[in-house]
Every structure is written in structure tokens, then in C-alpha cells.
């Protein structure tokens, strides 16, 4: 059996996949990769379905040793180096690692979350349909906790098949404002409060993690209905504003329901780059309506599919491979039920 053995890992290194769906009605949130596009990219480069479980690293790096057989690994997400036995591997390229060799992911130079995917992914038992770790409630991962030195991660493949792959186009970062759809409780804010929210700059505070990020900036004024609602469901990217008027954006590990009004919701395609933004980052919000948000989703998905379609066998730069294109790399990239 081929295994990845963790030699060292930062405290927030954990297994994450596309998420755990269908259990929010019982209070279990989706968790899953904070940057699902980076997860998809790493997985496709490794030859996996886009939502397969991978190792999510936050800021800190990790070292893993391959044992028992060869493994193909790929890295995507925050800017971090990948080294095999100390030798740098080219970025956005999967690489086959021989037994006994060490895979080293460096600390993130920019961004936060990096994904290390392995061909065939991990042969571990999911909890409620997913291996994604929700650390606060000890659901998923290995024994409900992050990875640590000594953990052995068995792979589904004894040896990787097919060629190593590379991305021949570099994804372009989007640095525009974070787009939001107002609601579900925008009617709990005064006109002044809504204008403050949409026209001010908010800074991501140090209180930011997989559950959510507290922002600091001009106080957002509530309306006459106050700031308590009878608890309702919290969508991904919901921007809650408690009594102190400071927004809190709820992310992958969020609670499923809450009793503070939510002024707006970040559109799903801006969540990955938001998640990669570090404390201290200044954010501005731009209002779009629901229909515009769906148009953005379609256009961004199309761009992402084009990016995925530019994946080629490594070392054959510029050559389109009919075999590869027939591998159906694209299907399901954004299928949350993957």
C-alpha cells in the first residue's frame, strides 16, 4: 500500500474536500475547502475529480514522506513552494514522487490556503459523507482533528497512472471589490447603514479563521427593527452584523443558523479569493443583484473550465493531447455534491 506519512505539519493542516452536504438541517455545516477553485485545480493536476479530498494547509508548510509505492502530487492555492527531496518542483505541475522521497510544501508567501492533492486521493473513511474536517465539533479529518506528525494517509492508488500534468495558462488574480447581493435581512438596516456598508473600506481583523472573518470599519447602523432575529439559516458568505455594527463574514466552518441580521451575502465566485485574503487586507463591497450574480457565476465558471482545459502532459508544453481532452477533466468542477 502506498502511503503519505506526515513528518511535520502546521497546526491548521487538515483534510478537506468539496464539503459535507445534506446535514445542515441537523446543525452540521458543510466545511470543505476554503478555496474550492484551488482544491479543484490541485486535484485535476493530480488526475483526480475536482472535489476529491486533499490536504489543506493554512499559512504554514508541511513535510510528508511517500512510502510503499510512488505517488503523484500537485499543489495549488496560495503562493507556496513545492520541493521533492529539497529540489524545487515547477509550479502548477503534478510530479511523481518515488517511495522514500520527501514532499515539502513551503509556507504561504501570499494568500493563506494551499492544497496538496495526491493521485487517487486518500483511502480513509468519511464521516457523514465527507472527510472534510470541522475541528470545533471533531467531525471528519483523522479522528476529528488536523493532521500531525506520524499520521499515515493510505492512498487509493498503489502507483499513479498516466502522465504528470501541467497547467499551461497561469490563472489571473481578481483584485476587484468583493461582490455581494443584499439580503437576506437588508431590511434590518437603515438607509445610512446600507450606504455605509457599500461605500466604506473594511479591514479583515485578526479574528479570522475557517468559521468566518470579523471586519473592522465604519459602524453599520441598524434600522428600527433592531439587531435580533428569530434564528434562520446562514448561507455561505453571509455578512452578519451584530449590535456593535461591525460585519462578520461567515465561511466554510460557520454555524448553520444564527440570530443576527445578515445585511448581504458574498457571491459564491468571490468566496475563494476572499478566503485567501489575510488579516489586514482592506475590502470594499460592490452590490450586484441576484441575476447579475448568476451571470458572474456562469462567466467565471466558463473561464475556469478554459483554464482546466489548458492542462497538458508535463514536458510536452504547447502540445494539445487528444487523450487528455477526452479524460473529461472538466465535468463536475463546481458540482458541490461531488
Amino acid at each position: 500500500m502506498t502511503e503519505l506519512v506526515v513528518a511535520s505539519a502546521g497546526p491548521l493542516t487538515a483534510l478537506q474536500d468539496a464539503g459535507r452536504f445534506g446535514w445542515q438541517r441537523y446543525g452540521v455545516g458543510p466545511s470543505g475547502a476554503m478555496d474550492r477553485l484551488a482544491l479543484a485545480l490541485a486535484n485535476v493536476l493530480a488526475g483526480n475529480p475536482p472535489g476529491a479530498v486533499a490536504i489543506e494547509l493554512a499559512l504554514a508548510g508541511a513535510r510528508l514522506v511517500v512510502e510503499g509505492g510512488a505517488a503523484r502530487v500537485a499543489l495549488a492555492g496560495a503562493t507556496a513552494t513545492l520541493k521533492i527531496d529539497g529540489r524545487p518542483a515547477p509550479p502548477l505541475t503534478s510530479v511523481t514522487v518515488q517511495p522514500g522521497q520527501t514532499v515539502e510544501v513551503g509556507a504561504a508567501a501570499e494568500g493563506i490556503y494551499t492544497y496538496l492533492a495526491v493521485a487517487g486521493s486518500f483511502a480513509l473513511a468519511p464521516t457523514l459523507g465527507s472527510l472534510s474536517l470541522h475541528h470545533r465539533t471533531a467531525i471528519g479529518g483523522i479522528d476529528g482533528r488536523p493532521l500531525r506528525a506520524g499520521d499515515r494517509l493510505p492512498l487509493n492508488l498503489a502507483e499513479p497512472n498516466g502522465p504528470d500534468l501541467m497547467l499551461s495558462t497561469v490563472p489571473k488574480p481578481d483584485r476587484g471589490p468583493i461582490r455581494v447581493v443584499l439580503g437576506p435581512q437588508d431590511d434590518y438596516f437603515s438607509q445610512t447603514g446600507l450606504e455605509t456598508f457599500l461605500s466604506s473600506t473594511y479591514t479583515i481583523s485578526e479574528q479570522a479563521d475557517r468559521m468566518g472573518m470579523r471586519l473592522s470599519g465604519p459602524k453599520i447602523e441598524h434600522g428600527p427593527k433592531g439587531y435580533n432575529i428569530v434564528s434562520d439559516g446562514i448561507p455561505s458568505g453571509a455578512i452578519q452584523v451584530p449590535g456593535n455594527g461591525q460585519p462578520l463574514i461567515l465561511l466554510a466552518d460557520r454555524q448553520t443558523t444564527g440570530g443576527y441580521p445578515k445585511i448581504a451575502t458574498v457571491i459564491s465566485w468571490d468566496l475563494p479569493r476572499l478566503a485567501q485574503s489575510r488579516p489586514g487586507t482592506a475590502l470594499r463591497f460592490q452590490r450586484v443583484d441576484r441575476a447579475e450574480a448568476v451571470r458572474i457565476a456562469r462567466a467565471t465558471d466558463e473561464a475556469f473550465r478554459t483554464l482546466i482545459a489548458s492542462i497538458r502532459p508535463a514536458g510536452l508544453s504547447g502540445l494539445a493531447s487528444g487523450d487528455l481532452l477526452s479524460l473529461n477533466l472538466v465535468d463536475g468542477v463546481v458540482d458541490a455534491k461531488e
Partner: protein
């Protein structure tokens, strides 16, 4: 109930979710309509539907914006709602053992005193009601109950406790709660149950569901250890009883 239903509202939740709101109050009739719509939406198997989250008074519907036809969904819900049969959702009744007071219910005495009751009288009132499960939410297995005797409704603590143990039986305002696991809380803790409303790997992993009923059975502290052991081994400990 001659009151007309409040108008249905569709609250935007970004591009990948919508909340269908039936009202703004905690009300069994509103909650029953939420659960009936929940069942109807899930029976529809709409392309792109990811999951639904029923809460006190609204249903959040999450979907893949690339696939889901939102306009058709909204039209479908508007057509469905007038014909929703709320009696179609059959709940179960759970009997949940609770050890009240002492180290198990650290706020029992103070809460009783606040309402001019003896601790035993407060236990009688709390354990004398039949509760409706309105919602499972916040964190795994957190069971939110309505049906608290209004005479013992108690505003939440000004200073929430940084951590309270799993299984706390508490009240906050007019609501009652079974806490699925250890969590910070500003509610008043009257007792504790060994019942795990959620236990990964147990079949079923979750005991309670929205629409169920709950009754509490005052239980002597001497039984705690045995019940706790059974619950830890995967027994439900809570019993299904006839309504």
C-alpha cells in the same frame, strides 16, 4: 386559527441560496408550514438543488447557480404553498432523561428564586410541558424547543459562559434547548441529559428532527453514571413514547 397567513417572502442569499420566509414569529403553525414546504421541495428533485435548511419560520434552499432555475423555483413554491398539508408531517415524541440541579444544573436554584419558585416547582414546570422541536441548528444536534411555560421564561444571561458541557438542558427567553455538545452559552442551565442528540458513527447519528416532540423525565443523579455509560456506548437513552 382565523388569522390569515403573513405574506410569503423570498429573501435573497447571494447567488446560491434563497430563504423562503413564512413569518417572523415563533409559532407552531408557521413551523409546520416550513416543514411541509421542506418535504415538498425535496420531493421535487429539482436539478441543481443542494440542500434545504428548515428553521423556526423559514426554509433556506441552497443550490448550484449554474444549474438551478431560480425563477421556476420561486414560481413553483408560490404555487405549492397554498396547498401545503401541514398535518402530513408526522412527528415523534422523545422522552429525555434529565438530572436537574446541583452540578448538572448550575442555574436551577437562581432561576427558581428569580421566579419565586422552589427548585422542585421549577423542575415541575420545566418537565411538565410537551415541547415541539422547531429546529436543529447552530451546531450538530442542537435541539431548539418551543412550549416552555411562559411563567418561567427567562432573559438570557448578560455574561455568557465561555464554555458549557454537552447535554445541557437550558432555557433562554421563551425557548428551551438540548445542547448537542460543549459550547459557550448565555442560557440558564437547569439540568443535563446523558442523551447524545448527535453521535457520529451511531445509527442513527441524529435522534431528534424538526417537528418531533420532547418531554423531559426528571432523573435521580445516582442514575447518571449508568445512563452516561450507555449513551457513550451508542445507546439512544432517550426513549420514543406514544404522544
Amino acid at each position: 386559527m382565523s388569522e390569515p397567513h403573513p405574506p410569503l417572502r423570498f429573501l435573497a442569499c447571494g447567488d446560491a441560496a434563497v430563504t423562503v420566509e413564512f413569518g417572523s414569529e415563533i409559532d407552531p403553525a408557521i413551523n409546520a408550514r416550513v416543514l411541509a414546504l421542506d418535504a415538498a421541495v425535496n420531493a421535487d428533485e429539482l436539478p441543481g438543488l443542494i440542500e434545504t435548511v428548515p428553521t423556526y419560520r423559514s426554509l433556506m434552499v441552497q443550490f448550484d447557480p449554474l444549474v438551478f432555475d431560480y425563477e421556476a423555483f420561486e414560481a413553483r413554491v408560490r404555487a405549492l404553498v397554498p396547498g401545503l398539508k401541514t398535518d402530513a408531517v408526522a412527528g415523534r415524541r422523545w422522552k429525555v432523561p434529565v438530572v436537574y440541579g446541583g452540578e448538572f444544573g448550575i442555574d436551577l436554584d437562581a432561576t427558581a428564586a428569580r421566579h419565586g419558585l422552589t427548585p422542585a416547582e421549577l423542575i415541575d414546570k420545566h418537565a411538565g410541558a410537551v415541547y415541539r422541536v422547531y429546529m436543529i441548528g447552530f451546531m450538530p444536534g442542537f435541539t431548539y424547543l418551543g412550549g416552555l411555560d411562559p411563567s418561567i421564561a427567562t432573559p438570557r444571561r448578560v455574561d455568557p459562559r465561555p464554555m458549557t458541557p454537552a447535554g445541557c438542558i437550558s432555557i433562554g427567553g421563551i425557548q428551551a434547548l438540548i445542547a448537542g455538545q460543549a459550547m459557550p452559552s448565555g442560557w440558564h442551565i437547569l439540568g443535563r441529559t446523558p442523551v447524545r442528540t448527535f453521535m457520529a458513527g451511531r445509527e442513527p447519528a441524529f435522534l431528534t428532527a424538526p417537528g418531533d416532540e420532547v418531554v423531559f423525565e426528571p432523573t435521580d443523579a445516582s442514575r447518571w453514571e449508568a445512563l452516561e455509560k450507555a449513551a457513550a456506548a451508542g445507546e439512544p437513552v432517550a426513549e420514543l413514547v406514544q404522544p
